[in-house]
Amino acid sequence: MDVSDLQVLEHDVVVVGAGGAGIRAAIECSKQGMNTAMVCKSLLGKAHTVMAEGGAAAALGNVDPRDHWKIHFRDTMRGGKFLNVWRMAELHAKNAPDRIRELEEWGAVFDRTGDGLINQRNFGGHRYPRLAHTGDRTGLEIIRTLQDHGIHQGVEIYMECTALDVLKDGDKVSGIVCMWRETGRFIIIKSKAVIFATGGAGKAWKVTSNSWEYTGDGYAMAYEAGAELMDIEFTQFHPTGMVWPPSVRGTLVTEGVRGEGGILKNKEGKRFMFDNIPERFAPETADSEEEGNRWLQGDKNARRPPELLTRDVVARAIMKEVKEDRGSPHGGAFLDIASRRSAEDIKKKLPSMYHQFKVLAELDITKDPMEVGPTLHYFMGGIRVDPDSQMSNVPGLFACGECSAGMHGANRLGGNSLSDLLVFGGLAGQGASDYARSLSGTPQIDNAQVERIIRNATDILNRENGENPYLLHEALQETMQMNVGIVRTAEDLNKGITDIEKIKEDYKQVKAAGASQYNPGWHEALAMRNLLITAEAVARAGLMREESRGAHTRIDFPGEREEWVKCNIVIKKGPDGKMEVRKVDRSEPDPELKRIAESTLEDLEAEVARETA
């Protein structure tokens, strides 16, 4: 392989990933005058943002004027069980409203209130109706808006192009090696900064709402480049995925169903969430069906029904019903909207859910309850970044959206990811542009690094014979589902790690049949490296964190432990090539932020009312 024969492109900043975070970051870079490129594995507009249904959380106060960034911030910290990076939760709550309004200027058409403002809906863990939405296809609205705006901002978009690894000049980023999926040809993109917006790694599990793209590419590439991963043990199981038929197991059922009044029942017809209200949330949650109903009718003095507790709580409660034999026929719980809202309302507010169940499960959700159960949905943890610039510990390497860590702590609130990607996509674009401008020269490409990356990729095709990548992937999904699932123990996690080590060995002999042109078997094999690094990181960090907090549940260490809120688990590739996992003390929060997050709701609401009066 002669590196000088390769196609070489040059940009100031390269964004990897074209979901909401990636496109928003690219738009910002372009606005800052950077020569910007964006590479994505799929076609533009197909990334997972398109699947987000419920809405984008922002304290606009359009539906309930009592809302304020401080209340949003408090909800986010409590939802994240106080493990969130305080500054990120603050930046998010403060900036989300402007990022939403900006989308409207770029063409988004959100649902309206009676006054003609952007309408907002209720969601789990949010004190007020806070989610700007467009029916139940808000993600589509947002990604299309960003896409339609982004193509006019001078961003070069390289579609169906897979990033393989980052190149470095000394300690600094100098570019990235990619592969065109259609032809299998490699390219070098020289750049001063690289922004990862690569999403999560749901594909390490068997039951997931994620598509083939979510293979932890950003985590693994960052790790290989020397960046740190943080809080990666916190993997969110969304409580409501489809459970039947088997081929769609895991497909997302929006939390919007519960936001619009949907309730969860077991096979005995009991609303079991009333028996699963954690102490921390008891003062803010309805304690009777009657109160929950009043809340749904808009009574501002009523408290929210327990179906709208945070996702970790609801997912565990459904698991418990199934385990104790009170589940639905196919191993889930019943989600009932039919008895709560008129058929007309359901079709208007939840049209894509209606359509999805009608076609895929032959079920009419205006007449019958859905069967739902937990599905791996989201990574709270990821690449450790500076909260303001979004830069990792590798100079020139940035991350935003799901692939970055910190904003959501131990559990993400629904609706906070669409706003996260807008806020931090913008900040990463700004951060990367500032960094690129600050460099005096252009970092150089090291051909030896390029050769090594390409050889690793082509070895998979050139081997005479070897392991089937699809079978390796299945084996990984099997062990992650069994051993690194929604409830964890040291014994299971150790078993998971042993399995992963074995699959890593097999992976050294992985073989993809066929040629390099648009070859899914080869693509699968390339993604497996990233999945294995990510899976190992989740299992090892999960083993170290000996407590139950948010989405990380250790049966052998029940409950939150005070000493663990004081530290993050940080992972890095060691000098010997082995994964280094260590506890790192968190810095002291800003006292004012701490005060806000720890205030009672009553005090904080009174404070906000005084301020805004």
Binding site: H48, M51, N62, G107, V109, R144, S247, T251, H355, Y518
Partner: protein
Amino acid sequence: MAKRNFKLYRGDNDKGELVPYQADVDEGMVVLDVIHRIQADSANDLAVRWNCKAGKCGSCSVEINGKPKLACMTRMNEYGADETITVTPLKTFPVMKDLVPDVSWNFEQNKRIKPLQLDPKDKDAKGNYKMKQEDVDRVQEYRKCIECFLCQNVCHVLRDHDRTDAFVGPRFMIRLAGLELHPLDKADRIPQIKNEYGSGYCNITRCCTDVCPEHIQITDNGIIPLKERVVDRYYDPIARLFRKKK
């Protein structure tokens, strides 16, 4: 579980053939599931495009027994137990490989369209744009489009007459309708709709509407209103007289 027969297109734009496969089909499976099963078991390098597997992203458009459909939303029980199911790539676009078409032309069309233009003077004192829900209902219908390009695939102007040089196709007529009917938009696209995007080429056969998985009334609610605007501007004798006087 039952064994079923399939024929899948294997090859590229220049040459290819329908290759027979057999696969086990379980209850509830869609055509895309079967394609994946064949891929994992016996054809690792079979190319197919997909993402969300829930009819929301529009990636897995193919022709199944000659009918343009989303493979992820087509249930196997739509077909008889003995029926051989033939899956081919979208006919209107060049084939990259197997079931994957090169749809890049569509992305080029989008770049030609003038984006939304709002007037900041329309903002209220708090910085909000106000629009009534009933005024955006129609625009939201257009914006349901998932860009599966099935409508582009069946449009006679593009499929049979190959006039990609003259007409942007139903997908982008819908995009244009979403901009033109946006209550606060200030831009004028009518001259381009007539002269550059080729609204006159559509002869309203409604084939695009029939295949839309989002059930958008592409022809009646999107293309016809745009055609009417073009007619009002360019061919209405009274309006013409009025314009001349100015």
